[in-house]
């Protein structure tokens, strides 16, 4: 394990604990509410406009399984996990901006290893966030009346983790290229916003349906393994994109002039 990754985990433990608590409690809380208004939801689902259905991930919220997807995997978990990985990815640029990185770059650890340590930190943050969503669904699913096995929840959560890692890696890549924390944070959130819009709304517009195919939001599939099949292609695309952004970040950080 890289010592710098351990140090990042130690120093950001408050943020990690906060994200964990938020994911776990909101996942369980949302799912626990389902039995109290499942009948209203069944009526509502038939009347929802297409745009709103697209917004919540084109899932059938009248079923407990669809409700899990719409409440946990479509918005809540991706946003919380990506928010945490964006904070993690922009941390490299923040450490460069406030010059606290100087003391670390003057050790015999290469810059590529420093960037790789940050990448590993991002993957761990995404993994821990995914684990909380996983536990939340395992606990909350039966309360909502859903019949989901551990394997299905696991298959639904794995792309979510890689999606979070991808957003964090894209943020890290921007950090490594620019050294500007606000730009890195902005790119992270813009990636989320654009990929969400491309996935949810492009299908509603003629000739723009192809946009959803290149959207990372569609690749993670919003927990589709819960109701249908595991989207292997999207999962592989997420892994490839994450690896590409991560390798790009490591290379960029090792070759750029640092403002320290």
């Amino acid at each position: 394990m890289f010592p710098l990754t351990l140090d990042l985990l130690r120093s950001r433990r408050a943020m990690l604990l906060g994200i964990c608590a938020a994911l776990l409690l909101t996942s369980i809380g949302y799912l626990a509410l389902y039995p109290s208004f499942d009948e209203q939801l069944q009526g509502l689902a038939e009347d929802l406009p297409d745009a709103y259905k697209a917004f919540i991930g084109d899932v059938d919220i009248a079923t407990p399984e669809g409700y899990i997807r719409s409440q946990v995997y479509s918005l809540l978990a991706p946003l919380l996990i990506a928010g945490a990985t964006i904070a993690a990815g922009s941390g490299l640029a923040r450490a460069e901006r406030d010059k606290s990185l100087a003391v670390l770059t003057m050790t015999p650890v290469s810059r590529s290893k420093i960037a790789a340590s940050w990448l590993l930190f991002i993957v761990i943050v995404a993994g821990v966030g995914g684990l909380m969503a996983f536990i939340g669904v395992l606990i909350g699913g039966p309360i909502a009346g859903a019949e989901v096995g551990v394997a299905r929840v696991l298959l639904a959560t794995a792309p979510l983790i890689v999606f979070g890692a991808l957003i964090g890696s894209a943020t890290l890549l921007t950090s490594a290229l620019s050294g500007a924390p606000s730009m890195a944070t902005g790119v992270g959130w813009m990636t989320i916003l654009l990929s969400f819009l491309a996935n949810s709304l492009a299908n509603l517009i003629d000739n723009l349906g192809w946009l959803s195919n290149i959207s990372p939001w569609s690749w993670h599939g919003a927990g589709e393994a819960i109701t249908t099949d595991f989207g292997l292609t999207g999962f592989l695309l997420l892994i490839i994109a994450t690896a590409g952004a991560g390798v790009g970040a490591v290379i960029a950080f090792s070759r750029r002039n640092l403002h320290l």
């Binding site: 010592p3 710098l4 140090d7 120093s11 450490a95 406030d98 010059k99 606290s100 100087a102 003391v103 670390l104 770059t105 003057m106 050790t107 015999p108 650890v109 290469s110 810059r111 070759r255 002039n257 640092l258 320290l260």
Partner: protein, 300 residues
């Protein structure tokens, strides 16, 4: 083996014309305490960034302890200690946890023990978090981090910033001890006062260009000196016209003649003897004035 700890040739990184460091031919002998002087913004920090692998030179080459800083930074960082200008430690770290992290990153257990020793000497409380420390104490923590692994070469960019005079003196003592152990020190500063007590070589950079580089003793040779005479008879300024290297002469109402000159004193003393000098009073070398002349760009 190269007898220079740092040797650069035409080393250049220019942010804009005249801004940065251009065509540096630095030579820092092994075991020297090299005062790297110049006004703020002259290019000292840019040069240090190139020497410590933070910035890739646009032109020229650098060899630091025989290593190209850009090509093999980890190997170089194993052997050097660096304190960058205004370098804060990571906010969340205490001094203890920072030393522990550096020990893990350097894979050297002795870093912690040695760091504690330096901290005690500099009166630094290692239990406080970096963001709770004053500017001076953050500077001390940076120094402790830079020195705790016994580097062969220490590069310090404005190390006495924010430190009180007693601690400045303590750091001077520390640097002399390092030099006595055969380690090399590159000490960057905008103040001659910071370096003249410890340095044996100086380099002066102005407007991105290295304008002087010499042993401090040579600078003293070239420095302006002041000698005061009293003569048995009245003398005038013209009586010294035949003496080379006289910068100026002033004669007080009471007849005291004050002569400012550069270089060897023999000609001046000979002429004073011819004029029947009764008393002579020599003043210490005015290094400060030579330094200020370099600052102003008065190369004469």
């Amino acid at each position: 083996m190269d007898d220079a700890a740092i040797r650069t040739k035409d080393l250049t990184y220019e942010y804009a014309p005249g801004v940065g460091a251009v065509g540096l031919d630095l030579v820092v002998p092994v075991g020297a305490v090299y005062g790297f002087l110049g006004p703020n913004g002259a290019g000292k920090s840019t040069a240090i960034r190139m020497l410590t692998s933070l910035v890739r030179p646009q032109r020229g080459s650098a060899s630091v302890l025989g290593v190209d800083p850009w090509q093999d930074a980890p190997a170089l960082h194993e052997r050097i200690g660096v304190l960058a200008a205004d370098q804060p430690a990571p906010r969340h770290h205490t001094g203890h946890s920072l030393l522990a992290l550096l020990a893990r990153m350097r894979r050297r257990d002795d870093v912690v023990e040695r760091g504690r020793g330096f901290a005690e000497r500099l009166q630094l409380d290692l239990s406080k978090r970096a963001h709770e420390l004053s500017l001076g104490n953050r500077q001390k923590l940076g120094l402790v981090a830079a020195l705790s692994h016994r580097p062969e070469l220490v590069i310090l960019d404005e190390p006495t910033n924010g430190l009180d005079p007693l601690l400045q003196r303590e750091i001077g003592t520390l640097l002399r001890e390092l030099a006595a152990e055969g380690r090399t020190v590159l000490l960057s500063s905008h103040s001659l006062h910071d370096v003249e007590a410890v340095a044996d070589h100086i380099g002066f950079i102005r407007n991105a260009v290295l304008v002087e580089q010499l042993p401090l003793a040579s600078l003293a040779q070239r420095a302006v000196r002041r000698v005061r005479f009293r003569f048995a008879t009245e003398v005038g300024a013209g009586d010294f016209a035949i003496v080379d290297n006289v910068e100026s002469i002033s004669i007080a109402d009471d007849g005291e003649v004050s002569v400012r000159y550069r270089g060897a004193v023999a000609d001046l003393l000979r002429r004073a003897g011819e004029l029947d000098a009764q008393t002579i009073e020599a003043h210490p070398v005015e290094l400060e004035e030579t330094f200020l002349a370099l600052y102003r760009g008065d190369d004469s």
